[in-house]
Amino acid sequence: MIASPVLILGARSDIGRALARAYADKGAAVILAARGDMEAERRDLELRSGQPVRAVTIDVTDGEPDTFFATLGEIPGTVVMVAGLLGDQERSAADDTEAARVMATNYEGPARYLLAAARVMRDVTDGCIIGISSVAGDRGRGSNFVYGSAKAGLTAFLSGLRNAVAKQGLHVMTVKPGFVATQMTSGMKLPPPLTAQPLEVANAIIAAQEKRRDVIYVKARWRPIMMVIKTIPEGVFKKLSL
């Protein structure tokens, strides 16, 4: 059961676009939220679905989350937080502004907006809050720990929010997509068996929402891999280049 309307925060990204199309395909009303002008995206989805589609402006690192939801005009049945920023570890390690931007876009902004979402969605039937976190949050690695730690924060946040609002019937789902072939990862050498296409991620999310799953890895083989990575003793782990 998908509660409508579906608000997609970060709708311009590859995963956000794929989600918008997949939800519309399921017959859900979709509200696109992203930075900047979303008219082309809105028009595309309207032509595809044959239904009116709304687009609103949002920057998760800026603005007042409560004001955003108050001016939205309707209470979403489903909220998907897609906003995030991979950034560059070397730049983040060297430059405080860059580190702050990565942390704010992956943890602070998404968490604050989802808290506000949970406040307005108290009485929604079959309501669902979905956060796109990352396998990078499962353990901090030298090669991307600024991003990874922010995602670890988001994972812990989603886990806690789930625990807090479950009794009121609001479902919270954590998604760890693993590698996804997107503009963000364009040109990186990603291992094909571990890499998902955006549409695959979107379809996995919707299927998991219908089953009320708590935590999903889009490609199931990530689960044992991260299990192993998490169990390596710190003394050994620090000597590896990961």
Binding site: S13, D14, E41, R43, L47, R48, L86, Q183, G187, M188
Partner: protein, 449 residues
């Protein structure tokens, strides 16, 4: 939210998997982003879904992956005019529009192409004799040029750029948006008539008689020799009207029944497509083509090979080249008799080849079709086959024909220059709009386009 960053290289090839390059493939989202790489000032080529066979979508350093630019821009149900971004995959467009009763005016033999690729190759289909090329149905194209400016070109505005772009292999800028007219259909079914033609002369006679049919194509056995040279199964087709469907199909005439796609899991060893196995297959296939009328679903009718994912792997690791030529009407009988005899003598052809009657030449400067017959078939990339293809080039040119740029990976610049008399005009447009040195591909470098 992500921004595009310079990235490292990936191995990229066309559908024939020959040749390959190790270069940067930049995925862009939205047509605004797609123009950004132009600012770097170096040369590049836009690439769609990589279904051209040879080197048309390859660049030694920078390719722009357009598949993230796939938004619908507008649709007018009164006229069928649709506007979309160039990276939209034809299969997705069909999934969206067929249930509403709209079909593409022209489709190639695979739906896994982008709309931009269909313009760049000015693709043709089984209805070329009556409907012309895809670009004959295009109203306008938005092009990003070498200085980053975006121009809308059409038959009336920047008509020279329009004529150079239709069939221009992506060498006139980045195709951003395309508007074209779709055609209404009543069903997702084709009424098919099947005929047998025991020789090439019979096949040509059958095509000439079938000019009133919307669709026509022949599967030709390239290993048949002597009295059977040119033995073909001819398939004619019309979109079935709703009242032609069986009663049970009339309530949802536009619904498609899609079978599950099969996959070629590994690269096949060479003997699988040996002369004996292919020759046996062809004989059985011909025998199975019982003449008569049937209703067939639209997907297997237009896209028989799309049901087998990665079918290009059947030719093994070395890849393959597809050979497609067109000969003028008057020269077709004589020319194809020579071409088929050469192919049968070497005996390494693909299991089936396609023969098709083409209508008059279109307005595109490098558009492939001309009034006559076209033949298309695959060859594994071996020295023996490459030598054979050089001989076929000579026969094609001798008979006033030419080769299809979207299929080519190996022909000479001289062969192409003879086949495309408007190449000079095309180069002049490239010069005039400042496109030389900004947009190039392995194809354009190899053939000096």
């Amino acid at each position: 939210m992500s921004t595009s960053t310079p990235s490292n290289t990936t191995k990229v090839a066309g559908w024939g998997r020959y040749p390959t390059v190790e270069a940067e493939l930049r995925r862009m989202i939205g047509t605004d982003a797609a123009t950004a790489p132009i600012a770097s000032g170096t040369s590049l080529i836009a690439r769609g879904n990589g279904r051209s066979y040879g080197d048309a979508s390859l660049h030694p350093r920078t390719m722009i992956d357009m598949r993230g630019c796939d938004r619908l821009v507008d649709f007018d149900p009164g006229t069928g005019l649709i506007a979309c971004e160039a990276g939209l995959i034809l299969a997705d467009l069909i999934t969206l529009m067929l249930p509403r009763g709209w079909w593409v005016p022209v489709t190639p033999g695979t739906k896994l192409v982008t709309i931009g690729g269909m313009v760049a190759s000015d693709v043709h289909g089984k209805n070329h004799h009556g409907s012309g090329t895809f670009c004959d149905h295009v109203a306008w194209i938005d092009m990003a040029l070498g200085d980053g400016q975006v121009l809308r070109c059409s038959r009336t505005d920047h008509a020279d750029l329009f004529a150079a772009t239709c069939g221009g292999m992506g060498l006139t800028g980045i195709i951003l948006r395309v508007a074209f007219t779709m055609v209404p259909v009543e069903s997702a079914t084709i009424r098919q008539r099947r005929q047998r033609a025991p020789t090439l002369a019979h096949a040509i006679a059958a095509f000439e008689e079938a000019q009133d049919w919307t669709y026509s194509v022949a599967w030709i056995d390239c290993l048949a020799t002597g009295a059977s040279l040119g033995r073909s199964a001819i398939l004619l087709g019309e979109h079935a009207r709703r009242d032609e469907l069986p009663i049970e199909g009339r309530s949802a005439p536009l619904q498609r029944k899609l079978g599950r796609a099969k996959t070629v899991p590994v690269d096949m060893p060479g003997f699988v497509l040996g002369r004996l196995s292919v020759s046996i297959f062809n004989r059985l296939y011909y025998a199975a083509q019982r003449p008569g009328d049937t209703l067939v679903p639209l997907d297997p009718y237009f896209y028989p090979l799309d049901a087998i994912h990665d079918w290009n792997r059947i030719y093994g690791r070395g890849g393959f080249v597809q050979y497609q030529c067109v000969l003028p009407l008057a020269a077709s009988q004589a020319g194809y008799t020579r071409i088929l005899a050469e192919i049968a003598a070497v005996g390494q052809a693909s299991f089936l080849a396609v023969l098709k009657r083409m209508g008059p030449q279109s307005f595109g400067m490098l558009s492939f079709p001309l009034e006559g017959y076209t033949l298309a078939l695959d060859f594994p990339t071996t020295p023996v086959n490459l030598a054979l293809l050089d001989r076929l080039d000579a026969i094609t040119i001798d008979h006033g024909g030419r080769l299809y740029l979207a299929k080519d990976a190996r022909a000479s610049a001289a062969t192409m220059a003879v086949g495309y008399p408007r190449l000079g005009e095309f180069r002049a447009v490239r010069r005039h709009y400042g496109l030389e040195g900004r947009f190039s591909s392995l194809l354009s470098q190899r053939l000096a386009l």
